[in-house]
Subunit: 423 residues, 2 copies
């Protein structure tokens, strides 16, 4: 074992011991610790921004784009916002101990299925240091120990944030090992996390497609796949045109750098003549480039929008930009077939006033979320009323769609008898 | 790609197409198909027992133990029993379409979390051909396509059973590709299943530890780990002695070849003098060999039981036999520490009349099931009232403990608006 591997093992073992303590904390214990953590982040703003300045300087020196430098940057306001997000977790119900099924069998045995923490949760994520605090807070509230492996580009910021939170935990009488950074700059340190089956109970990667693909392909620890969103909006022949334009525009352009933004629009041929002129005007005004199939291109002649021919790469792309793939379909079945072929299973929307079309779409589409006459942008833990979000699962096991506190738990069956034996 | 790999891919693609049809079948469609399958199994008893005779003969020739030959053997009575199990599935509620959360947000959006099938379920299992029918029936009822990879020792039996079921599906107007055998004798065919991420939605291995370990370590398809059970019974100082003896005996010896049988008993020192003589008499009468620690051995002097020194291998063993590891502990904490060290996370039991001891045990133990004053043998889908069981999960993600129809589903959020967009 390399010394880095040994160091990781020690950290993981400490996380397991911490998890054993955390599973028995009361909600009051955990909420008090969260409050101390939030207060400490604000009180140590100068220390955190100073550490962050080092990361920002290194990022600038290595030619990082302004957008990413902005995501990396922590200001006093942003730290106050991160602390407020922690305080919001205090108000959320504690999922641990919730009885999700409970009944008495004919033989008198009482069966209860009770939520318990997962144990040790590993997070692998990219630039934004706020994830360090969000993940630590949600893990603590759900009784889990957090092993955090952020981006090396944010290492000084993350180290400062974790130090402040660990000190606050100790002051609250909670083991500081509830929150630990995975050390090491190299990809080796990600490997340690991925191969720590038996020590780490679940890995949640958050970030770009290559990060997630690497974790999914190589982890022996169970993974919750998150976030890649190639989302579709289908405009049915029975759509309200004004509503359809509004939903398409919001889905595509309200915020482009997010997984629940739309990347493709499919338009029923019977509504194309009514819908396209207004949709193209709106997309043009928002600065969206349309990557369109032949029939769509023909209909777009004379429009102010930037329209270019679509390729298979476009159909498969998560643009994260003011681009959208677009096509005309003959039937709702053709739209469904297209979505089955290209969707990443995140969110698809239908705009229609037809009950039968809505029923067909919702029955056929196999995605984490289906929006009926609403923007794809609503697939979000906050928008769903969860009060928090640790990621959006695009896989089918354990959790699918926005994940918050209950999704960070598993269950135990507690069966109570009076000397019952099997005959 | 080898020709076997190509053949597997074709089969998996057909399973995906079948899954797309199955997810939209009504309960009535599925129940009618199940009834036809059950009737067809009985009607084709001669054909099935004849195929099975070939497997049995090969097993005998290769020197397979009588116990395993017995598990492999199909008789008319056993086939009738397998058909009855299928008919029982007809009576179970259809999990698909169940709304498990539903609410309206302040902005008027209606959120519903709805159960949908997982899609394609792969099963890898060992000798017993009844698993072929059980798995096929539960997958069909939950709207999933089944890819079955049984033991090569049961290949003729499995081929006959699957042929009968596929013919029955066709007669019921359901795609026969809902149920397919994975071809190939070699371990290569298991590898194809394990690497079919994107085509297969979940793999459920059922069998011995090495089979399960291989799948867990090598699969890129999400796995539900099942069944390894190193179960413990803790006899607290406040236990009712007669109840404790009864529960221990039932947990160990009511059936030894199952994952929910007890493999270790831990006895609080304060009850050892009252408990051990009666427990050892009962274990001796049942023919159980006790692998005991030093303090236990001293107390067992003069007992009729077969008592031998315990090793670390014993503490870790899932015996599947009339053997049990045994120790005396000073405190309930010592019992918990021992269980944390050695348990496989399946089922642990406490026998106690102390509310505080029961609370401590249930809070500290991190297993799929905890039995309070009841036998470990109750961890079972049938005993829990689920009406069926596709396996017992010992992992924390997705499902933990006995799994039946709801555990073969995932969910989709269906969000309905009236033109809602994000501001």
């Amino acid at each position: 074992m390399t010394s880095e591997a040994q160091e990781f093992r020690q950290i993981a073992l400490r996380a397991r011991e911490a998890a054993y303590l955390l599973r028995r904390l009361t909600r009051k214990d955990k909420d008090e610790a969260l409050l101390r953590m939030a207060d400490a982040l604000v009180a140590n703003t100068a220390q955190i921004t100073s550490a962050n300045a080092g990361d920002v300087e290194r990022a600038r020196e290595s030619g990082t784009s302004d957008a990413i430098v902005d995501r990396l940057t922590l200001t006093a306001d942003r730290i106050a916002g991160i602390a407020d997000a922690l305080r919001a977790v205090i108000g959320l119900p504690d999922p641990v101990g919730e009885v999700i099924r409970g009944y008495t069998l004919p033989n008198g045995l009482q069966v209860r299925q009770v939520r318990v923490p997962l144990g040790v949760v590993g997070m692998i994520y990219e630039a934004r240091p706020n994830v360090t605090v969000d993940a630590a807070g949600l893990c603590l509230k759900s009784g889990n120990a957090a092993l955090l492996r952020g981006s090396s580009s944010a290492r000084e910021s993350n180290a400062a944030l974790v130090k402040v939170m660990r000190d606050a935990l100790e002051q609250a009488g909670v083991t500081a090992d509830a929150i630990q950074l995975v050390p090491g700059e190299s990809h080796e340190s990600v490997n340690h996390l991925m191969k720590a089956r038996g020590l780490v109970d679940v890995l949640i990667p958050r970030g770009g497609e290559s990060l997630i693909r690497n974790v999914v392909d190589n982890s022996t620890v169970p993974v919750i796949e998150t976030g890649v969103g190639n989302c579709h909006v289908y405009i049915d022949k029975d759509a309200d045109v004004e509503m359809a334009v509004r939903i398409l525009l919001n889905s595509k352009s309200q915020r482009v750098s997010v997984c629940n933004a739309a990347e493709t629009v499919l338009v029923h041929r019977d509504i194309a003549d009514a819908f396209l002129p207004r949709a193209l005007d709106a997309l043009a005004a928002a600065g969206v480039t349309v990557h369109a199939d032949e029939r769509f291109v023909l209909k777009a002649t004379g429009s102010p929008a930037s329209v270019v021919p679509v390729t298979d790469e476009d159909w498969g792309a998560e643009y994260y930009s003011l681009d959208i793939a677009a096509g005309i379909v003959d039937t709702i079945d053709d739209a469904i077939t297209h979505i089955r072929r290209w969707s990443s299973g995140h969110t698809e929307a239908i705009v229609s006033d037809s009950q039968s079309a809505i029923a067909e779409f919702t029955a056929a589409i196999d995605s984490a979320a289906i929006m009926v006459n609403a923007s794809t942008r609503f697939t979000d833990g906050g928008e769903f009323g969860f009060g928090a979000e640790i990621g959006i699962s695009t896989q089918k096991l354990h959790a699918r769609g926005p994940m918050a506190l209950p999704e960070l738990t598993t269950t135990t069956y507690v069966v109570t008898g009076e000397g019952h034996v099997r005959g």
